[in-house]
């Protein structure tokens, strides 16, 4: 088990290094001339030169990358080009907001998705299953900005239950009615796609387990259906769901970006968009790196948890 964790950790570090290289390449090599990209095509030669000097763009790419990565690891994420604020403070503050939003969504869709998936699998080919399966196929296909706008149209504009904008003050407390109220609609919006994804995957792994010989054995031992499901099926069927949930975080992040922009929610996704619109290089790089680190860690955790829960890996 320990060697399993060490191995996974090794892979994670490798992946992160390569990902940082990719992000660096995408932001500082792909666009050609960074100075022109940031300052625009009509900037004077003088301004461009100044900018290059300031950003250290005259150095070789290897040095630039090494320097950038080293500072990032050290916690020096640079200064925003557009607001002149410290990128780290900015990112961490927005990250906290996004985390709140993600958490609310997470506790909504993960349990519900699992329950729906299991129910559909147990009642395979019944109308319940058809409703859940087709419903999840449909929801997986609905982009967040569509569902979000529909939710706004109905629950904010028509029924006026929730505010249509989710702008919250920078120091908003989590357990505050004012804050929570603003989190409901965006969280719901993000949840739908992931909910559908988890339900589908859980259904398929449960169906697979239901067809295994040991489930037959369990029934023929005279166990009640609930005991077979609870003790023999779920244990094995939910194992892959651990990984599925982690992969689903990728969807969640995509959803965050769109939803935050839709609801005007001050999270990391909107920060990223802001950075992209302003061509604020340090901001783009830092937000992207932070998200990638979080996503990778989530996958690592899921891997380890999976290995721990799976006796075939734990006792190899």
């Amino acid at each position: 088990m320990l060697s399993f964790i060490v191995r996974r950790l090794g892979f994670m570090v490798l992946t992160l290094i390569l990902a940082s290289l990719l992000i660096f390449a995408a932001t500082q090599i792909l666009p050609g001339d960074v100075a022109t990209m940031v300052l625009g095509r009509f900037a004077t030669e003088q301004a461009l030169d100044n900018f290059r000097g300031e950003m250290g763009l005259n150095r070789s790419l290897v040095v630039q990358y090494g320097d950038w990565l080293f500072s990032f690891v050290q916690g020096d994420w640079g200064e925003s080009l557009s607001t002149r604020a410290d990128v780290r403070d900015l990112v961490l503050e927005r990250l906290r907001n996004s985390a709140m939003l993600a958490l609310v969504a997470f506790v909504m869709y993960v349990p519900l998705g699992i329950v729906l998936g299991v129910v559909a699998a147990i009642r395979r080919n019944s109308w319940v299953d058809h409703v859940i399966s087709v419903g999840s196929l449909a929801f997986i296909g609905l982009p967040e900005f569509v569902t979000g706008l529909l939710l706004i149209a109905v629950f904010a504009l028509r029924l006026d239950w929730f505010p249509s904008s989710s702008a919250i003050p920078p120091d908003a407390a989590f357990f505050d009615r004012h804050t929570l109220e603003r989190l409901v609609l965006p969280a719901l919006t993000i949840s739908l796609v992931s909910l559908a994804y988890i339900a589908r995957m859980t259904r398929s792994s449960t169906v697979e387990v239901l067809g295994m010989d040991y489930v037959r054995t369990a029934y023929l031992k005279g166990l009640s259906r609930s005991r077979v499901i609870g003790r023999h099926v779920l244990r094995n069927a939910l194992l892959p769901t651990v990984t599925v949930v982690a992969i689903g975080i990728g969807w969640l992040i995509g959803g965050l970006i769109v939803t935050e922009s839709l609801f005007g929610f001050p999270g990391i996704g909107r920060l990223l968009l802001f950075g992209i619109q302003r061509r604020d290089l340090p901001l783009i790089q830092a937000t992207t790196m932070v998200i990638v680190v979080i996503f990778t860690m989530a996958n690592l955790l899921a891997d380890i948890l999976y290995g721990y829960l799976n006796p075939r890996i734990r006792f190899r």
Partner: protein, 706 residues
């Protein structure tokens, strides 16, 4: 459908299971099919009933229908099932659950999947005791350990704490049996419980079943396709064909004097392990098992029956009593020939046709193939090796067959793959007619590649699903230089050689049965006009009747074309039937080898002896030595020092076996044994054991002694 109420009655006074006129239907995409029709049987207390039949004959469906555990698309359409007088078909779901596990227990084929991978084995067994016997946790635990001891599990405490993946196949099957016996059920259903196991492990599990029969008085329904297994553990037997019983009776009657042509044919198409002259053709059954949606009128066996007459096709013959405890569904049972007559009628001796050609064709010398052990961590490369083949030398003469036998893990397949160049040997050389070959297919010339061909085990994967039969057979022809225009003609010739009609030319593999696929694969191998064909368990996954006809095909083709075979199998009967020379391998190394007549006659290497005594022989009167190998084949990573067989050897001498590698001892003729015992001591010991077995058996009608 005629209702047959006749069943043979068990010897026990009380019938535990009575099935009367049971029919089962499955809903399919093409409409309903009836895999079991109007079937009756009874099993008495303490009796074991063998249900035999080829794949798809409805054995499992009958058993599962009787205890009401059918797939969602299945249902019982007629009949009555009484378990100790209680009608199972009228029970509610809840009542049925209290029957399952407590009064009926089931064991299936693959032990690896029958236990939940994420629950400790002990807890799974104890669960039954808690649910059905209302035991407390401690009591259940106690009971579980008791059961594990009853099934002769070494070290039950530690086994109970382990997860299924940490146990070997044989151990798992014992756990499953222990779990089944916890409540001392009235009926125990065993559905092919040993099919997935090695012969040696199978023998141990069969002994266990026989002992359980003594100890518990459960009625046993034993499902298998192997007549030999039935002969070893059953009191009575029913032969099923396409959903109906053809014959039922006490095993002695049924094996001595089968009264249905189908049973007779089944017995005729398996090679018998006998020490008489080899190389006869086997009697096989023409045609196929009918599709369930196209059953013939009248006797369902009529289209394949050599005794059929027009009346047979009119009405379905009922099961009639043909003797004490013997029922048959054949109208013409009085004229069914005896097994001896049956053998004499068709078998042709193929040995005559062969001359004395004694040129050495292939030689594989000191072959080793080591694989790296998969790394466990990025910083912990495992230096150890999996020694799949560990120094094996074999040779094959022109036009002859070398049989390679051994348990799984003995390196048989790796040896074949090394010879043909699919894997590169770690050490050793392969030479063909004295010319040393390159280590991989890439380094061999086209002509060399042409000379060695292979037929694989799994018929479903042998042919490209997207290519027609014609394309599959035509490709090697084109590759090895047959002019384009002649290819279709040659393909048709080859099809004919493997007894397939020209209509198969355009078929896709999905339109063929397993046996037909294997015929096409054989035709494809012969298309290259090779000198040598490596047959890696080519018949293992097929039904016995199909196995028989493929063995006939292989022998006739060899007689015609003079091709040599390397015939790999775990089935000693098939090997002795086909081979001129035999090599017995264990853990990547040969243990005994030489002329088939010498290897398969005493004295044997202790391992060969154990293998032979493990084969179930379809004749209840044969006396076999009771030699059992405990444990399983050790890991090929840590091969035991000295003689690698010493951890399981029943003839173990002492330190010398652990410390020193045994010598190759040469016997008379062409016969080598790898053991510290001399030929003389082996002869002595083996005679003595046989005398003891004979004594234990205590029956007069001894025929063959193995």
């Amino acid at each position: 459908m005629a209702t047959t109420t006749e069943t043979t009655t068990g010897r026990g006074s009380r019938n535990v299971l009575e099935i009367e006129g049971l029919s089962v239907a499955y809903r399919t995409e093409e409409g309903d099919i009836f895999p079991v029709r109007d079937v009756s049987l009874t099993i008495g207390k303490g009796e074991s009933f063998g249900l035999v039949g080829e794949s798809g004959s409805g054995k499992s469906t009958l058993a599962m229908g009787a205890i009401r555990y059918l797939p969602a698309n299945g249902r019982v359409t007629a009949g009555r099932v009484l378990l100790s007088g209680r009608d199972l078909l009228s029970l509610s779901g809840k009542e049925m659950r209290s029957v399952w596990g407590s009064r009926v227990a089931v064991v299936y084929q693959s032990p690896g999947n029958a236990l939940n991978p994420s629950i400790r084995t002990g807890n799974q067994i104890a669960e039954v005791a808690r649910i059905h016997l209302g035991m407390s946790k401690q009591e259940a635990h106690q009971r579980m350990l008791e059961m594990l001891e009853k099934v002769k599990m070494p070290d039950p405490e530690s086994v109970a704490r382990r997860y299924p993946h940490q146990l070997s196949g044989g151990m798992l099957q014992r756990c499953v049996v222990a779990q089944a016996m916890v409540t001392n059920p009235e009926l125990l259903i065993l559905d092919e419980p040993t099919t997935a196991l090695d012969v040696t492990t199978q023998a141990v599990v069969l002994d266990l079943v026989a002992e359980l029969k003594q100890e518990f008085d459960s009625a046993i329904l034993y499902i298998t396709h192997d007549l030999g297994v039935v002969a070893r553990v059953c009191d009575r037997v029913g032969v099923m064909y396409a959903g109906e019983f053809m014959e039922q009776g006490a095993i002695r009657h049924l094996f001595k004097r089968p009264l249905h042509p189908y049973t007779l044919n089944l017995l005729g198409c398996v090679p018998h392990f006998s020490l008489g002259p080899r190389r006869k053709t086997l009697n096989t059954i023409p045609g196929f098992i009918p599709r369930l949606d196209e059953l013939p009128e009248g006797c369902i066996f009529a289209p394949r029956c050599s005794l059929a007459e027009p009346e047979c096709r009119v009405a379905q013959p009922p099961l009639v009593r043909a003797g004490e405890d013997h029922l048959t569904a054949c109208r013409r049972w009085p004229v069914v020939p005896t097994p001896a007559e049956h053998m004499d009628t068709i078998t042709a001796d193929l040995m005559q046709a062969r001359g004395e050609a004694e040129n050495r064709l292939l030689e594989a010398r000191d072959v080793k193939k080591y694989y790296p052990v998969p790394a466990q961590g990025p910083f912990r490369k495992d230096k150890r090796k999996v020694k799949s083949v560990d120094g094996m030398t074999i040779w094959i003469d022109e036009g002859r067959t070398l049989g390679l036998v051994g348990e799984s893990g003995s390196g048989k397949t790796t040896m074949a793959r090394t010879i043909i160049g699919l894997v590169e040997p770690t050490e050793g050389t392969i030479s063909l007619r004295g010319e040393v070959l390159g280590p991989t297919t890439r380094s061999r010339t086209r002509d060399v590649l042409r000379r060695i061909q292979m037929v694989f085990q799994n018929p479903d994967a042998s042919l490209n699903p997207r290519q027609t039969v014609g394309q599959s057979i035509g490709r090697p022809l084109a590759l090895f230089g047959t002019p384009r225009g002649e290819i279709p003609g040659r393909v048709l010739e080859l099809l004919e050689a493997v007894h397939l009609s020209p209509s198969y030319y355009r078929r896709l593999p999905s339109e063929l049965s397993g046996g037909e696929k294997q015929r096409v694969a054989i035709a494809r191998a012969f298309a290259a006009e090779p000198d040598l064909i490596l047959c890696d368990e080519p018949i293992a996954s097929l039904d016995v009747s199909v196995q028989g006809s493929l063995m006939n095909l292989l022998t006739t083709l060899q007689a015609e074309k003079g091709t040599s075979y390397l015939f790999i199998s775990h089935d000693l009967s098939a090997v002795q039937h086909l081979s001129d020379w035999v090599c017995v391998a264990y853990l990547g190394c040969a243990m005994e080898w030489g002329d088939a007549g010498d290897v398969l006659n005493p004295p044997y290497h202790p391992y060969t002896e154990a293998l032979l005594s493990a084969i179930p022989i379809p004749d209840p009167d044969v006396i076999q030595k009771n030699i059992r190998l405990e444990g399983s084949v050790p890991s090929a990573v840590d091969i035991p020092p000295g003689c690698r067989f010493h951890t399981r050897c029943p003839r173990f001498i002492g330190d010398i076996c652990v410390e020193e590698e045994p010598p190759w001892r040469e016997g008379e003729g062409d016969h080598w044994i790898y053991c510290h015992h001399t030929f003389e001591t082996l002869v002595e010991m083996q005679k003595e054991t046989l005398r003891l077995a004979d004594h234990d058996h205590g029956s007069p009608g001894v025929e063959v002694q193995v």
